[in-house]
Symmetry: C2
Subunit: 137 residues, 2 copies
DNA sequence: ATTGACTCTGTACCTTGGTACAGGGTTTAT
DNA sequence: ATAAACCCTGTACCAAGGTACAGAGTCAAT
């Protein structure tokens, strides 16, 4: 199994080389084995892990949260099982709420586009009207 | 129509009082009218606007993006129509992608809970297995 | 008319999540 | 054997999004 240098990992996962080392320092990715001269040599897995981090970040999770998420992803038991289950249950709720809100934002944006296309007066736009009334936005 | 002081707005929208002024400086909320002695007096609307900002932030949007989103929300024409439609179209794509990813994370977390409950060896957990194979996580 | 709880502006400081050297060693290709 | 292109650690710096004063004015109640 061929191993990767830090710059290869950085390139493959499309992040800055310093970011890879930063994630190691923050305890998000585990410290890889080193060559005799101290160079980090990563398994391909590290690239997946970093991409996982980036996706989670884009969804609004903090690095501390992602530490827990990664632990689930990699099926590790760095944190006690109790804590992990508790964490998972809470995050599922939050995710459902986020999906709900994202759908609201999507409707809002769609209404903006259709408003522009049809050039209707805004108080006659049915989507906007419905959203305003429901108090969901 | 009763108007609110800055601290009342802050309290009602559950943010720091300095944050309200910060959003004004950043151009996210419009500068409210002042009393004779210079005190800001807000319409109730300001609370909605701030809550909108907070929801958008929680979904991973930056304050610059939220400036545009708010403009759609409030049906203002601060930005040219062309730019807004373009913006809306791009954001709709991003939102769909985010929803997709959130569903993936949700499945991951659900699998973690069921794994713990059933205490199955992980390679026998059908949800985890499916997710790993699809390459979606 | 004075005390306490507000408000104002302006500037300084903080946290998160990086990013960029400096100063030094290593590896590879010529 | 020497330059180019890596890597190391450590520390400094940066941008975004706030948060916290300081110094001064205002308002409401006693």
């Amino acid at each position: 199994m061929k191993r990767l240098t830090v710059s290869q990992v950085a390139k493959a996962s499309n992040v800055n080389i310093e970011t890879v080392r930063y994630y190691e320092r923050r305890g998000l990715i585990s410290a890889p084995p080193r060559t005799h001269s101290g160079y980090r040599m990563y398994a391909n897995e590290a690239v997946d892990d970093i991409q996982f981090i980036k996706r989670a970040q884009d969804l609004g999770f903090s690095l501390e949260e992602i530490k827990h998420l990664l632990c689930v992803y990699k099926k590790e038991d760095y944190f006690p099982i109790e804590e992990m289950s508790q964490f998972a249950a809470v995050k599922i709720q939050e995710i459902e709420e986020k999906i709900h809100q994202l759908n609201n934002f999507k409707s809002l944006l769609e209404s903006a586009i259709s408003r522009q296309e049809s050039d209707l007066p805004k108080n006659q736009c049915p989507i906007i009207k419905k959203l305003s009334e429901s108090g969901d936005l």
